[in-house]
């Protein structure tokens, strides 16, 4: 009885801890009993996922769950807060992470040695714990710690293939990510100097009085946060590490990085901007306008760069830059509708992009080729993979009855609501450009045949353990397109308290 009560009390901690524990145990397990490493990884992520679903149920009426780590009360102890928005993101992260894990477990079997596989899974779990920790924490320094955990794990996942391109890309990512962390650290330092607190809720309270005394310092702090999180989440023009990193990483890493990691950093920025500071303060400074301007540039720039890439993974990488631009555009609107759009697109893009990267990965796995031209005739050889690729491409283009359309709709409504027809044009042009860089691939797969004879022997469909995750995420895209209320309910609840 006592044990169960304790467990129940400590559930918020378990969300992060389960993956962290898995990561701690994994090096031993993969050495001693390799066959258990996959199941252990799955169990640790699945536990987080089930817990996050539970928390969605708990918070869907607006309740917040507070938990003090080690039972030390704030402001000196670290507190975990699970409110509707946190529960939403945690579910997204653990859910997509779980699905991609199945894909990863199968994919790395062929491309890495056993010991490397063990380290890969360990790093994967560390990354998951970092992301989950970032999401649930209410303490700025704890946020920084988990940002670093996430950052290093992400870099390691990029370098996992141990060839020259990956190492170079990982190094670039490491340099820029560290720069970003430095900015975030400086920002946190400034906030601490001004308010004397590190706990986000305490900071908010303190800022009510402090904001008039230190306007310039706060502006600098906010800019540092935007720069720091911006580098890590590939806000244009700080995105330069992204194309190399996503394209040279192994496919499961690309899926995870583009789908989740960048989004969690954006969520970190949301936490700082809206849970520490709030939209009234933000409106005083140039921050929202900066965000929207850079976002518009990112949407157009990213899409244009994507159009000229012959390598499918680089194409998808630049596409991510553009799509992250959409999210920042919605954030920069600094309105309720904008925040709803941002959160929905975080979810929608995470699902679509992970699925696209996994599908591309499946093609590369079977054919060893990454050039767009080599997609010729794949519709016949790998119908399921290409069907999912097609559906997710349609979703990226914003075709109705798919989740991408719902995101686009809210983005457009939000822009009109904020009175900016220019942004409406940018969003619509962005969708057309998305068609321009995705449709040719789809077309080539279904409407051309492979004439070069480059592939010796028949091409088989993606193996089932890798195909099922792709199918699941495609199904999610369709489901969220026809019944977006599934997500919108909790998103609307989440946004309720932010704008007043």
């Amino acid at each position: 009885m006592d044990m169960i009560e304790t467990l129940h009390e400590n559930l918020p901690l378990l969300v992060t801890m389960s993956t962290l524990l898995g990561a701690y145990l994994m090096p031993v397990v993969s050495r001693v009993r390799f066959n258990l490493s996959g199941p252990l990884a799955v169990v640790s992520v699945a536990v987080s996922f089930c817990l996050s679903l539970y928390f969605i149920g708990v918070t869907r009426d607006g309740t917040r769950v507070y938990y003090n780590v080690g039972h030390w009360p704030p402001p000196w102890g670290i507190r975990i807060v699970i409110d509707p928005m946190t529960a939403f993101i945690v579910t997204l992260v653990s859910g997509v992470g779980l699905v991609v894990l199945f894909y990863a477990l199968r994919e790395i079997k062929e491309s890495m040695s056993r010991s490397s596989q063990g380290w890969y899974i360990t790093t994967y779990l560390l990354l998951m714990s970092g992301m989950l920790g970032m999401t649930v924490t209410d303490d700025l320094f704890n946020l920084y710690v988990f940002i670093e955990v996430t950052g290093f794990s992400a870099v390691a996942l990029v370098a996992a293939r141990d060839d020259q391109a990956s190492t170079e890309a990982a190094f670039k990512y490491l340099m820029l990510a560290t720069l970003g962390s430095g900015f975030i650290m400086a920002g946190i330092g400034m906030v601490y100097v001004v308010t004397g607190h590190l706990n986000m809720r305490y900071v908010t309270t303190a800022l009510i009085t402090a904001r008039d005394s230190y306007p310039m310092l706060l502006w600098v702090a906010l800019s540092f946060f935007v720069a720091g999180f911006g580098v890590k989440s590939a806000l244009f023009p700080l995105h330069v590490w992204l194309p190399d990193a996503y394209s040279s990483a192994p496919s499961p890493s690309s899926a995870l990085l583009s789908g989740l990691v960048s989004k969690v950093y954006i969520f970190g920025l949301i936490k700082v901007l809206y849970f520490c500071f709030y939209h009234v303060i933000l409106a005083r400074y140039f921050i929202p306008t900066t965000l929207t301007s850079l976002a518009c540039a990112g949407i157009i720039g990213g899409s244009l760069f994507a159009m000229i890439q012959p390598d499918i993974k680089r194409r998808l990488a630049y596409s991510s830059v553009a799509q992250i631009g959409y999210i920042y555009l919605a954030l920069g609107l600094n309105t309720r509708l904008g925040m709803i759009a941002a959160l929905f697109h975080i979810m929608s893009h995470a699902i679509m992009k992970s699925c696209l990267f996994m599908a591309a990965g499946g093609v590369i796995y079977r054919t060893g080729r990454r050039n767009i031209r080599d997609f010729a005739g794949l519709g016949k050889a790998m119908p399921w993979t290409m069907a999912c690729f097609t559906i997710c491409s349609f979703s990226m283009m914003g075709i109705p009855l798919l989740s991408g359309f719902v995101s686009k709709w809210y983005l457009l409504s939000g822009s009109l609501d904020a009175g900016s027809p220019f942004m409406v044009v940018v969003i619509l042009v962005g969708s057309l450009l998305a068609a321009a860089y995705l449709l040719p691939v789809v077309w080539r797969a279904w409407f051309t045949t492979d004439e070069s004879g480059a592939f010796k022997g028949p091409i088989k469909e993606t193996p089932w353990p890798m195909l099922v995750p792709i199918l699941l995420l495609t199904g999610a895209t369709i489901l969220l397109g026809i019944k977006p209320a599934l997500a919108l309910d909790i998103i609307e609840k989440a946004v309720e308290t932010l704008f007043f």
Partner: protein, 502 residues
Amino acid sequence: MQSWLPWVTVILPAVSAAVLGSLKEEQKALRNAISLGTALVTAGIVLFLMPAVIQDGVVRTAPLLVTPAFSIELRVDHLGMMFALIASGLWVFAMLYSIGYMAHENGQRTYFTFFTLSLGVTMGIAFAANLFILYFFYEFLTLTTYPLVIHYRTKEAMVAGAKYIVYSLCGATLILAGIVLTYTWTGSVAFSELSILGGAPRLAVLSTTALALAFALYIAGFGVKAAIMPLHSWLPSAMVAPTPVSALLHAVAVVKAGVFGVLRTMYSVFGDEVMHEMAVSPYFVAVLLATILAGSVFALNQDVLKRRLAYSTVSQLGYIMLGAALLTPMGFKGGMLHMFNHSLMKITLFFCAGLIAEGTGKTRVSELAGIGRSMPLTMTAFALASIGMIGALPMNGFWSKWFLINGSVESGMSAAVVVLAVSALLNAAYFLPISISAFFHKPAGVQLQAHGPGHGHHQGLGEGHPAMLWPTLALACLCLVLGFWPDLPVALVSLVVQAFLG
């Protein structure tokens, strides 16, 4: 009245298409049977729904609520019924014709799969209950008709296909902009007896300029498929498609879907009163008159028969939209009736062009001298349909012209009357010579070479494949019959007009 039947018209073709896609290329008989059967059943269901619509005014399906503003449902009103009747009815003829035309071609599996699928998508457009559903099926129509346009896979076909997609996607983007504006202003996108913008309480800040901008977005968006100049150039290029595709899709389904979209915009989104308030009609009518004239002028220059027919279509679609833009009952009646009549006549003309190409390999007007001797039935049908296009008795085309001219006079647009008259003369100039030369001139030597891929199977004498000939003749006869007894179409059209203009 509530029914789930409208969904069947959308889902059955989709299911059939899935089945057709899984058949092997050799299973011809089964494929033909499934395709034809699907078209017949769909047309049957539409006919079945007709009395209910005439009586109750609308047939709805149970809505599947997605968000408070948006539900997945179908709604069959008079306008939708009209479009669905034209499309599904002619699809049966076109399917029969396709069976004959494609008999010796490659790629039949892809062809019939997407031909059938496009039927379901067109029904979805006709029966859409709100702007979202309309937009979805509209975008989808582009995607499902694309494989049909590029069927022959020649360089020309691929270029035409790319042009088609680019034009259509840009158009769809403009429509989406319009839909977002509509929703932001009114909070609703659902079609009903009242128009969206007219029925809902509008924000005081809404100026006529803003409304006119939204109108322009919609018209430009739908205008791509409706081939309003200068957005029309995908249509002549798309004539590289097999003739049944050109006939049905690019003379009936796709372009009429564009026109349908324009009509929905004018009457279901904006509504009669708002249209009057905005006073954009004169500008819109000007654009349409230009389209009508320019289309006919370009048609004169075309030697390739199908391209001549394509430009003629561009011109004739202008007639339909002109009728609606006049905003009077008589004008609208003329426009709607012409939607019906033009579909019948144009599909007949295209079918004849296909018969000629299949029978003799000739695709150019300059080669058609004396062909009436070897293909008398085909050319008679061509001649009858041509007379209808010019708007002369005793063909059905006369009646729509009659109402249009009366409507123009009624609303005081003398420019429209002049343009209609000039266009009739131009129509005569580019249609009559073909029929006259076919019957009364000597054939220039005996050439029996095949032009284009896979044509000229029935070399030299004789009419074409019966599966191609009979639908053509039947349609030509129908045009003639409806010329004498226009009561049924006119009655149906009057119901539509009454529903929208009171």
